[in-house]
């Protein structure tokens, strides 16, 4: 990474978040560099989704700072964060049920970064994005009729349509079979190849190890390891967190 690592795309400093008495994040620090695939792992309830929600403005941190492309974005509302260039998918997918896949993705195109004002002119690009995620044959299908795997892809397409520099993927591959997982991994690699930086949460270790440049491990709201995949999997704390002592 060398040269790139001097100017992080995203910088998270001393993030603290509690829900009542429960500490969900406990002073988490990390940086993401342009062009990398950065994965966050950790057992259920370790604070991964909470971290995503704070970065994207859906939750307010008790303290700490989030900087994106040199700008302090801490506490901005979600729609503004999206327009700055951070898009996300939800762990529990949230399609616009009664809208067609085309309309779903058009929302991202019309309201995300570089928002389109003329919907008709953007149709071509939206169709292209749908083709890219493999929904090209479902353009006029309403989202409620899609399968789970298709909904995940729709979620991805909608996020891509917002023209993000940073894409947050919360368990994109959860609930997919192994063939679908392969396809999803290829997609993520292609997305990174197109110049979009990816931060992802994933439980499927094969996927995480296969495509990540760096990995951060959380346990009960604390960072316990960070580094190259081959090093993180050998880390004693990580092994204990996953397997128990």
């Amino acid at each position: 990474m060398g040269k790139q690592s001097k100017t992080p795309l995203l910088q998270v400093e001393k993030l603290v978040k509690s829900f009542g008495g429960l500490m969900a994040l406990f002073g988490v620090n990390f940086e993401i560099h342009p062009g990398e695939i950065f994965s966050v792992i950790g057992p259920n309830g370790s604070g991964k989704t909470t971290l995503f929600n704070i970065i994207t403005g859906f939750l307010k941190a008790n303290s700490g700072k989030v900087t994106f492309m040199g700008k302090d974005i801490t506490g901005l509302p979600p729609h503004q964060i999206c327009r700055q260039g951070i898009a996300r998918i939800f762990q529990l997918v949230k399609p616009f049920h009664q809208l067609t896949t085309l309309q779903n993705v058009m929302v991202g195109r019309a309201y995300g970064k570089d928002p389109a004002t003329n919907l008709r002119k953007s149709k071509e690009e939206v169709v292209e994005i749908l083709n890219f995620v493999g929904l090209g044959n479902k353009i006029e299908v309403v989202a409620s009729q899609l399968t789970m795997a298709e909904r995940k892809r729709l979620e991805l397409a909608r996020a891509l349509a917002a023209h993000p520099q940073l894409l947050l993927l919360d368990e994109l591959m959860a609930g997919l079979n192994s063939a679908e997982t392969e396809i999803a991994m290829e997609l993520v690699k292609k997305i990174r190849g197109s110049g979009i930086t990816v931060m992802m949460v994933e439980h499927i270790m094969k996927a995480v190890l296969g495509i990540s440049d760096r990995i951060m491990a959380l346990n009960i709201g604390e960072k316990i390891a960070e580094g190259l995949p081959k090093d993180v999997v050998k880390n004693q704390l990580v092994i204990e967190a996953y397997l128990g002592k």
Binding site: F58, F90, F96, Q98, L99, Y111, L119
Partner: protein, 314 residues
């Protein structure tokens, strides 16, 4: 021909036919029922853009209708030009709506519904106390009263309302509204500012409800000042929209047509029976046909088409 063009020509054709009605008949009862239909179209369509498109159910629509009516009536009878009084009525409704909406629309869930209902009731009671009198038209206004300009005012208002909802429904603004209705968080994550969409939707909704109230004040010779604030107007709008097809452009038009006809039909023999019938219809629609009459029509169409294809292939 694109479906866009087709819709526009169809709408234009119907509007022109309706514009000819006063030339074809001199029967006041027909003109009056048409006025009622146009009034209901405007009332229901203005409710529909907020509830059906943006997902924000207002139970205080009567407040906007009433504010438009009272403002228009007072200014107009006070000697101001009607069009000025009429526009002011719409704007007063918008100002009130945005003052109420600003806090209420930031909250999710049923707060907006409850808040608007409460405020409409407070307004109704306040108006009833301050102006307990009948709003009679002065003698010279009655002397020059003519039904035909009223007919055209309502027709133009209904046409503009439908056109506005059509244009919004096919625009970026409308897409954002529907996204907010479908899933507010997903909309936000895609860059939509839900609060802004709701406020714009509320402004359009209350403006046209206010104008409908103003047209009512222009049309009705004599009524109690608090009548346009009655919750009936809200529930008329709601029933018409749901029975016709919520979140569609044709739904409120079909609903308004049926509602007005039912109302006229039963008015003499069984007053208020139409409310009962429509209430029942409403429950049936919600339970069996969430898409309303519009959905029923398209289902029947699909059935017919399926039949045709069957025979075509056999």
């Amino acid at each position: 021909m694109s479906s866009h063009r087709k819709n526009i020509f169809l709408g234009l054709g119907i509007a022109i036919l309706l514009a000819l009605v006063p030339l074809l008949t001199k029967r006041n009862d027909i003109i009056n029922i048409m006025v009622l239909i146009f009034l209901y179209i405007c009332l229901a369509q203005s409710w529909n853009i907020l509830a059906g498109y943006t997902g924000q159910v207002s139970l205080g629509h009567a407040a906007f209708f009433g504010l438009g009516a009272i403002t228009t009536r007072i200014l107009w009878v006070g000697g101001y030009p009607f069009l000025m009084a009429f526009t002011t009525g719409g704007l007063v409704a918008v100002v009130f709506a945005l003052i109420v909406g600003h806090p209420a629309l930031r909250l999710r869930g049923i707060y907006f519904a409850i808040g608007t209902l409460g405020l409409a009731q407070i307004l109704k009671i306040t108006v009833g106390n301050i102006l307990p009198t009948v709003a009679d038209l002065p003698g010279d206004y009655i002397a020059t009263y003519n039904l035909i300009p009223r007919y055209y005012l309502f027709l133009i208002l209904a046409v503009i309302m439908v056109v506005v909802v059509y244009l919004v429904g096919h625009s970026k603004l409308g897409l954002g509204m529907v996204a907010v209705r479908e899933d507010e968080e997903a909309a936000e994550a895609s860059g939509v500012n839900p609060f802004r969409q709701k406020m714009i939707s509320l402004a359009i909704s209350s403006f046209f409800a206010g104008l409908a109230g103003g047209a009512f004040a222009f049309y009705q010779v004599s009524y109690y000042h608090d009548l346009p604030f009655s919750p009936t107007w809200t529930f008329d709008a709601l029933l018409i929209t749901f029975v016709g097809g919520v979140g569609t452009i044709v739904g409120p038009i079909i609903g308004a047509f049926f509602y007005a006809i039912f109302r006229e039909f039963f008015a003499r023999a069984f007053p208020e029976l139409h409310v009962f019938i429509f209430g029942t219809l409403f429950i049936l629609v919600v339970l069996l046909l969430p898409g309303g009459l519009v959905e029923a029509v398209s289902r029947i169409r699909r059935l017919i088409r399926a039949k045709k294809t069957d025979t075509g292939f056999s």
